[in-house]
Every structure is written in C-alpha cells, then in structure tokens.
Amino acid sequence: MINRTDLVVGVILLAVCGWLYYVTASFDEVSPLFAQDMPPERFPRMLLWIIAGLSILLPFEQWLRKEKGKILDTKRKTPVRPIVYVTIGFLILAVLAIQLIGTFLVLIVVCIGLPLLWGERRWKIMVPFVVLFPAAVMVLFAHVLGVYFDPGVIGFKFP
C-alpha cells in the first residue's frame, strides 16, 4: 500500500515545507491596515499547506492509481550512474571558472571537458568542434546581439 521511496520523498518534502513555514514566520510584520488583511506570509503558507497535504498522499499514489501507478518506479529502478555526479561537478567548476578565466575560455573548456568526460576520443571531430563552436556562439551573442561577457580575473576577452 505504501511505496517506500515515495515515503522518503514525501518526508523530505514535508521537512522542506516545515522549514519554509518557519521562514515565513520571520517575514517583516506589517500592520493589518497596510496589508489590507492580506499579510505577506498568508499566500505562501497556503501553498505550503497544499504541498504538505499532497506530500502525505504521495506514498499512497501507486496504490491509488492501480496499474498506471507502476510506471512511476521505472525511471528510478536503476541507480544514478556515477557519470551524472561527475558531470554535475564539472558543470559547477565551469560556472565557478567564469569569474576567473572569463566566459569564452569556459566555453572552450566545456567543449573539451564534457565530451572527454563522456568518453569521446575522436579527435578529428573534437578539434574543429572545440575551435569553431564556442567561437561561433560568441560571435553570435557578443558581436551580433551585443551581449557583454565577463572577461574574468585574467581579463581574456573574445576578440
């Protein structure tokens, strides 16, 4: 009757709701006259109650939906592959690097690093991809659309 994974998801959602409800208590107070009887915390709290209520129902959903409910477990049957965590780590480092090496160099790093991480070794395709693609994107955004890109601490700007 109860799906254990959904129970964990439901508990996490309830915990987040509880924390956000606590945060709503820290909103600045305003006089009822000024707030026109609609204090700033009322609407978020209503939503949190709704999410919490639905989270309680979540572990029972598969049982409620009979056959259709079985589909819900298909995607999470296999564990997350380590490459996902590696990719997330790489993307975080890439975004962190924007302020250090600038946007253009980060694009080049992404175009080299991500295919390599994913097992790509065909250099004949990789070299033109790394050289041409980031340059083409930068020409479009920096020159055609006039977007200013952060050159980073080392100050390398796209020509």
């Binding site: 709503t24 639905l54 259709k68 990719t87 992404v110």
Partner: protein, 490 residues
C-alpha cells in the same frame, strides 16, 4: 479587418519571414533530435530574442513550436524513437510502415496530416481568441483566480504519470513565484538576505535549467545509446487512396487536438495519444493498427499539430498557458512588456493576428522543408550525443548569462537543472513547475484582490456562477485521473 491586415503586414516584412524560416528550421531539427524538445528550444531561444522586436521574437518562437511538433515525427518514423514527446504515438504505425520499405509514404502522410491539423486549428485560434478575450474582459479578480485554479488543477492530468506529483510541482512553481518583494506590502519573502533574490527568480534561467540542463544530466547516462536508422528514400505525398482513408481521421483528430490544446495545461502529447486512440476506435480496420496503418500516422500527427494552434488560444486570450511550450512563450510575452490576457486582444489585436499569420506561414514552410529535407533531417540523429549535449550546455550557459548579464543567472540555471534531474527521476515533470511559476503572480494577485473586494469573506466567491463553474471543473480535473484508474482497474 484592419487589425488582421496589419497583422499580416507585420509578418510580410522580409526580415520577419527570414526569422520565421529560421524558427521553422530550428524547430524541425530540434524535433528530429531525440531528447531535445520544443519547450527546451524555445527556452534557449528566449535570451536570443531579447534584442529582437516583439513581433518577430514571438513569431519565431511560435513557428519553432509548430515545426518542432512536426519534426518529432521524422525520428518516430525512421528510428522508432520520437524526437519529441508529442510524436510518441506516430511511431506506433509510422515505424512499422517504414520497416516495410515505405518510409517516404509514412513521412508524406505525417507531413500532410500535420499541416492539415495545424491550419484547421489556426482558424479556430483566430475565431476563438477574440471571443474568449471578450468574455474574459468581464472577469473580476475572483473569476480570474478561479480560472487560474482550474488551469492548475488541469496539471493533475497533464501526463498520465502522476497527478499528485504534477500538483506538487505546480504548487512549488507558484511558491517559487512568491520569492522576492511582496507587491502589496513591500516585504521581502524567501530572499534569505540575498539581494539578487529581491527581484524574484527569473523565468528564463529556471526554464533553461529545467528543460535543458536537467535533460543533459539525464542524457549523460545514455551517451553510448545508438539508434537503428531506416534510410528514407524520397518523401511521397499521400496517394488518392491514402487521402480517402485518412481525411476523416485528419478532421476528427484536428478537432480533438484543437480542443485538447485549448484546455489549459494540456498539450500536444495528450492530444496525439487521444488522436491515435480515436483513429483506432473509429477505424473499420482496427486490426491493422500497429502494423503500419495510414490512419495510425494521420491521427496523432493531425492532433498534435492542431494542439499547437489550440494552445495559443488560452495563452493569448486569457494569459493561461495551454502547454509547456506556450508557457515559455507566455514568459517571453511578459519579458517583451506585453500583458497576456484579454487586454492583449483589446489593445494590440494586430499582434495576435501577426502570430496567427506567422504560424500559418510556418505550417507551409515546414511542409516544404519536411518534404524536401526529411532525408537530411533523419541524418541529424547521427550527431554524437557527446557533442550534441555539450553544445546544448554552451547555449544554456550563454543564454542564461545573456538574460541578465550576470553569473547569478547561470547559477540559477545550474541549480534548476540539478533539481529538474532529481524531479524527473522521481516522476515529477518539469512542465507543471514552469506553469506554476508563470501563473504564480496571477494566482496571488487575483486572490489578494478578491479577498480585499470580498472583505475576506472567501465563501462569497461562490456567488459568481463563473467561479462555481471553474471550481467544479477544477474538482473534476483533480479527481479524473483517480476515477479513470479505478474504472481501468475493473
């Protein structure tokens, strides 16, 4: 009539025609690539259109939307992997027909059915939008609140996966919309002392994160997946015999698709599945379905393209998105300074007709592109994922950065992407969250105004028959997935 002509004149500009062509081309390519979707492409296009005038910007997005829905059928037919979710039902009969050596015929039926569905729905769009806008101008805040609640309740059935998850995601989206300064009181909410959050969370970085980065993380687990591709010969237009078999299906599916599209939150995928089921139900050759039956291609293709025109009706007339892609288009309208809803039709009717003209043109363009270039587009699937997805990330990074020229937006995109990946894994679709985020302001404002008008006596809302109707529909929308499951179980 003047407004219609003005709208067409706006689109007739050669620059705008060129942008519509580019939109169609991107749409067909994106549609043909498994994993890439129309909402993702429109979200990535959003930052690019900031510098454009509103008419070409929205026209380009609307064209991409039409073409992307059609593009999905190419892969569905040739590699049995729908390029986009709305093409899922096209594969049921398209791929078996292609296996028989009739790939060109299958693509031809898909192209003609798509354009027929698209054009029929556009005429409904052009007739229904002014009417719906006229009705909506009489809406007070409580009617608008009830309408928004009805739209959110429809999220319960947005996909067959999980109504509860969709509703949680929708409510979370609305909650996300409350971040920043409360307009009535000026109080900061959920900003945690971080100045960048006082202006709220921008639509664009969240949309790019949820649709593009989340899918990138998902695809990182399947980089070695290869598709078996059937070589397409020349695309053949349907024969007279084919037309005789499919015209009834096209008309019926166009009607179904338009109706499903008009319903808030329901999109082309639901329409396509219903179009396929109805085509089968009405067919005299039910046993042929699944083996390469022409009606099995015409039904979903006419329905999913009809849903695009239908989905534009509530988006423009009411400011309520008809699908995930129109939710992104709605965000673009807001970004370009428009007020989607009845006022849009009242104040700038030529703009609405310009979108109609752009979509009409896009339908003819994708027919031409589809017929002439299906063979080339089918080769797009040969692009290695190890290059395709890093390319998508480059556009995501640049797109979110360009939105506010700040690294903060790139972080929002990345966080939204990781959250989106976790959501997808646990069955939470990103579309409801996006819809909630976009509808959030409308829900809160209309609720606050209603409470002030009604002196906090919320039950007085039910004095309005329109409110009663919307709430009744909302209750039905919420209960339907569970009722239908119970019936299906018997």
């Amino acid at each position: 009539m003047d407004a219609v002509l003005q709208g067409f004149a706006l689109i007739a500009d050669p620059g705008n025609v060129a942008l519509i062509f580019v939109g169609v081309l991107i749409g067909v390519v994106v549609g043909a690539l498994p994993g890439l979707s129309s909402p993702m492409a429109v979200a990535l296009l959003l930052p690019f259109t900031i510098t454009l005038e509103p008419v070409p910007a929205i026209a380009m997005m609307a064209s991409l939307y039409c073409a992307g829905t059609f593009g999905g059928s190419i892969c569905a037919i040739l590699i049995n992997a729908p390029g986009a979710p709305p093409a899922v039902a096209t594969a049921f009969d398209g791929y078996p027909m292609a296996l028989r050596g009739e790939a060109g015929r299958a693509l031809g039926i898909a192209a003609v059915s798509s354009i027929s569905g698209g054009i029929l729905s556009l005429f409904i769009f052009v007739l229904a939008t002014p009417l719906l806008s006229k009705i909506a101008t009489s809406f007070r805040p409580m009617e608008y609140f009830a309408l928004a609640i009805f739209a959110l309740s429809m999220l319960a059935s947005i996909s067959g996966m999980s109504p509860i998850r969709n509703l949680i995601a929708g409510a979370a989206g609305v909650l996300l919309g409350t971040v920043g300064i409360h307009l009535t009181t000026g109080v900061e909410r959920f900003t945690f002392g971080y100045p960048a959050l006082t202006g709220g969370i921008g639509f664009v970085p969240v949309l790019i994160g949820l649709f593009a980065v989340a899918e990138l993380l998902n695809q990182s687990q399947a980089v070695d997946k290869a598709y078996e591709r059937i070589t397409a010969t020349v695309v053949k237009l349907p024969t007279r015999e084919d037309f005789r078999r499919i015209w009834g299906t096209i008309l019926r599916s166009s009607g179904i698709g338009t109706f499903i599209g008009v319903l808030p939150a329901e999109g082309a995928t639901v329409a396509a599945i219903m179009g396929y089921n109805e085509a089968k139900r009405w067919s005299k050759r039910k046993e042929e379905f699944g083996t390469g039956c022409p009606e099995g291609i015409a039904g979903p293709e006419a329905a999913n393209n009809a849903a695009t025109g239908g989905a534009m009706v509530p988006t423009l007339a009411l400011g309520i998105p008809g699908s995930a892609t129109t939710a992104v288009i709605l965000a673009a309208l807001i970004m370009h300074g428009f007020r989607p809803g009845p006022h849009l039709m009242k104040e700038t009717p030529e703009f609405v007709y310009a979108i109609f003209a752009a979509m009409l043109l896009a339908n003819f363009m994708f027919l031409g592109i589809g017929l002439a270039g299906a063979k080339i587009f089918s080769r797009i699937t040969l692009i290695p994922r190890t290059f395709l997805w890093p390319g998508v990330f480059v556009f995501s990074l640049i797109g979110s950065y360009s939105y506010g020229a700040s690294v903060y937006d790139v972080w929002v995109t990345l966080v939204a992407g990781v959250i989106g990946f976790v959501m997808l894994r646990h069955g939470f679709a990103p579309a409801p969250l996006v819809m909630g985020l976009i509808l959030g302001k409308l829900v809160e404002e209309s609720f606050s105004q209603s409470m002030i008008i009604l002196d906090n006596h919320w039950w007085r809302m039910f004095e309005s028959p329109v409110v009663d109707l919307f709430f009744l529909l909302a209750v039905l929308g919420l209960c339907w997935p569970f009722i239908s499951s119970r019936f299906a179980g018997r």
